[in-house]
Symmetry: D2
Subunit: 356 residues, 4 copies
């Protein structure tokens, strides 16, 4: 009998769900027990996604409609890949019967302040009492809390790309920030599997534009964690853009700094802040003053970070690149599972870019 | 005998040169007399660029090595498509014998302050005395000067995308700008015809990254014109990125504004500033709070501009999209020629995107 | 008052309709009177297709639901851009009141044998009596008939790419063909504006595959015209593929020839057959033994043709490249209009590729 | 001490070399001992290919100039990734001192008839005596020979895509083939790391064309193996094309069959031929009458095969799709190593497409 932990993926037919299946298929310590999909219940994954024909252990795996109450007991961990509002509903239904761990890849448990949640998501939070039990799963930053956590709110893709890039600066605490402009560019898989005209090849190829520029739901999540890391309330101006590529997020972060006596000192130490902060991390590669490239991270669980300080304008530019479905979603979710269960942190995540 | 004006393109084998040939081929009031290329002298354009097989009047046109001194007299206007430093050298050689007009698509005569030029371009300016004679050819902004000019310094692609987006705001003069962050994304044709590994399909497809983030030579050009338009010395933080598309520039401009009593008033009038400023312009389309898309302008001489005001952070975001080879180079050059000679401003420039 | 002919586009909101609008907007001898669209009636074209903001004369043009009976008299020519079965229905409704010319870009009047039509299209033909009145509008081959025609059945995109490539060989009549395999590759615009998952950027980018390999509706159209040109009944094996590009068709045609005494002679004369056949044609460029490239024709009304004879297998390979929406549809339609009305054949069609 | 076999990659800085490094990095039974590159000797792989930052065991691995004679004894298997002519030269230099196994990913030992080699490759073969010792490593077809072989000539990318598609038909032996036309389409990585203008993003994106249509060096390799499988000498007409994608080969094979009494019988059994032939194979997926898609195999070591029989023209169309760098090169090389050493055939090759 297998001594692997038993996992389930709820809402498994979207991009993050499929990616979880692909990662867990190669995981030495975990096996997939159930995958659910209302739309595709009864169908094999390979019928919907022919590339999963290459799965090693799960090539015949089949979507079910839902996990039966009596089966919940056999599961060690559930990954939730559900749209906004659906995670809390699902958790409220199973919480009495399910004693295992939960990693929610959705947004329902990321915002600790339910008022803030309701303001940005436009609906009531029905499980406020559980909010304090969910740890924000930014792996490198919250490793100690994650080790002890039962429930994880897995970070959004943009917030992961931004917060890991900002952490070494924010935690150094000795700069005076005037404004923060974040210009992020995402591959189209970030938009999920929606069948709308804008996402047709004909409309998206050779195209580029900003979207949700007025207000994007990832803003309160980023501001909450920025406050947590820096001890300061900082409002950010965030603009996402759509790239004509499938995968990857490239964020360019502009920190406009106040000219004061500490600035030279800060500039001189910047390289060390980053180097020391991420020393020994397997999934964060600090490139110094080199700029990362999207293609070098797509297909991997790695985030690459570089920076440049513009003296003329006292602006610190930080660049980060990651794969939005891996480090920005399913990869980080498995990394969190590995931390929770004491597995090697990169178990199942030795992924190389397919590009040369 | 034709009563069309006689044009010449010097350095015609690069992207901007070929685009000039394509535009002038359809021009009712101008004809192409000479095109020069050291590399391809003696070869027909169609041998190098097979798509020019479709040219109407110039399908057999041939590159020559250089225009002979004795032929200079027959030319009404010369377009220069030369690398930095080469335009001033060429102008210094012909200026005694050539009495016609010049439009320089290169950078040599854009920066009025030769010290500034030397600082950013790293070499001496050998024709300082001519600098005051060159008009900065931002068509919509300098139309009156262009009408009277003999010599035009045609704007860079990034500056065109940024300055036309900023003009209505800067000329309104009643805001207090704290910082300007400009995040531009360009198709790869902006890099010219360089044969380097980074520009191979294999390296560029599905890729994205920032470059020249420390300092890009278009910065002094933008700051000079921003000063000219606003009456204020404003330092900008500018970061160009490379998009995996052939053509087009999309600029996202962040103006971080100081909170003061005028801000609400400014916000309320923003739409009108733009609308009035560009009223009647054929090549500037103001979209209001809609965001332009790269694909809608590629293949045209049009710039599309939209904006959004982020109250939370007092940041004005301005978005612009243009075709870097057309409105950002050869299209604007012909627009300037039309203005100089009193032709219809859109003569030869009725170009539609080929996309559906 | 304008002495331009009055045109109407019925079903104008699809790709071929929009392309007609863009071409006719620049046409010296024709103007657009009506454009119809059931879906977008009442909306301006630029609201649906923002790139048409650059139209010169029709930037404010608006879709109407349908042309009123009383207005039919003022129209000189109607272009039909309707799905299979809809053209014949529309023609049957207007034919009594409309005395002008018709160019049908759809398939309803291409197949002369109504039995054949019904077999491949799976429905009855309701206007058989009109079939003989429609001329198959392959411009270079049927120019004389087109001059005299009132009604044109505009060729399909694949048939245009194949028939123009085959014509010089088929009309030489002195070869013995064993089999014909046609391997065509089309950009995704050929599939029209369908909102299906396969055409999403995420599914189509970096992808490639054959489709409709069992039987494609363009087969009977090609076999009919091959018979017409060669005097022989030849069955072709045709396989279309989908390319991850917007536009263009590249066809590779394999003629497996019977080894006989004439073959050497045929091979030696091949180059001349083509050269002489297309001598003087403005929209057909014969490249000899050079292979055309898709990018050199996209955005133009030109077809480029090359060939190679493989002695080892007695196979003649013919290569052709065209823009499926232009020479393969709307461009050829306007070319036909020009022929019908005695305009310059390239009026409105001086289009250059936007690529460098 | 590790009991893994020791491997070396000679000429490791090209695409196939880097892919071998990525695969072997995850291999449970093999480790990388040496990687050589004349160009990059002394440099770390990650300096040249930043995406290899994600390697698990070899993130610091460094190119050496060449393997010293004294070190050859410690190596169990050498992979050669060298240009035509260079493999035989290298083998001739080491053969006396090296007693281990060799897998040559190049072309030098694929063609058994040295006259044929010299005819197609245009140079003398300097190691004829070794030709009989090299087994053609088409894994699924030659598994038994591979098990016993010391030296493997790893198949070309196009031949793998074609031969695995044809094998079930050719081995059934009961059809009369009139002609074979093979239309293959390859991603640009197949062209290797050449810095030429044609492979620039600007020239290749949105483009498509045939190349080497007169004669491609993979033809004699395919004809040799077709003869070996069918017992008949069959000349093939082969035309490769370049796709605007990085990876993958899609082959469309047209078998024009002679009409005879067996044909109906053959058609009825076709599905079974394939199904039975590849039953149990992990890296060959037979799709029946479904057409494979390039994207479903890119990133994997799987070939997908489908077919359609066109009764009208007695033509069997076979479709195959594979990743040219994996199943078409480095993946199949490791598969062969696994077979030679008795490892699980898919060890190190559990690769999933990164696409969703």
């Amino acid at each position: 009998m297998s001594d692997k932990i038993k996992t389930a993926v709820v809402g498994a037919s979207g991009y993050t769900g499929i990616e979880l299946i692909k990662i867990l298929d190669n995981h030495e310590k975990a096996e997939i027990k159930y995958i659910t999909s209302r739309t595709y219940a009864g169908k094999k994954v390979k019928e919907i996604y022919p590339m999963t024909l290459s799965l090693k252990n799960n090539s015949e795996i089949t979507f079910i409609d839902e996990i039966k109450k009596k089966d919940l007991g056999s599961i060690d961990i559930i990954f939730l890949c559900l749209p906004p509002g659906k995670s809390m509903q699902y958790v409220s239904e199973i919480i009495e019967n399910f004693k295992g761990r939960i990693i929610d890849l959705g947004a329902d448990f990321r915002i600790k302040n339910e008022k803030e949640y309701e303001k940005w998501y436009g609906s009531m939070h029905i499980l406020k009492e559980l909010l304090p039990l969910f740890t924000y799963g930014l792996s490198e930053i919250k490793r100690d809390e994650i080790k002890k956590a039962n429930y994880i709110a897995n970070p959004g893709c943009y917030p992961t790309s931004v917060l890991l890039a900002l952490a070494p600066v924010l935690k150094s605490r000795n700069i005076n920030i005037e404004s923060v402009n974040i210009d992020s560019k995402s591959g189209i898989s970030g938009a999920g599997k929606k069948l709308i005209e804008d996402y047709l090849f004909l409309n998206m190829s050779d195209n580029f534009y900003a979207y949700s520029a007025a207000k994007h739901r990832h803003i309160p999540e980023m501001e909450q964690e920025i406050c947590d890391m820096s001890g300061r309330q900082i409002n950010i101006c965030f603009t996402p853009h759509l790239l004509p590529v499938n995968r990857g997020i490239f964020s360019t972060i502009y920190l406009n700094l106040k000219k004061d006596s500490d600035l030279v000192n800060f500039e001189n130490n910047l390289h060390d802040y980053y180097k020391n902060f991420y020393d020994g991390e397997i999934f964060v590669k600090f490139l110094g003053e080199k700029i990362p490239k999207l293609k070098d991270v797509v297909g991997t669980n790695t985030i690459q970070i570089g920076f440049l300080y513009d003296k003329r304008t006292c602006t610190l530019k930080i660049f980060s690149a990651l794969d939005n479905i891996l480090k920005g979603a399913s990869g980080q979710a498995v990394q969190n599972m590995n931390i929770m269960f004491g597995f090697k942190e990169d178990e199942g995540l030795n992924l190389n870019s397919i590009y040369n």
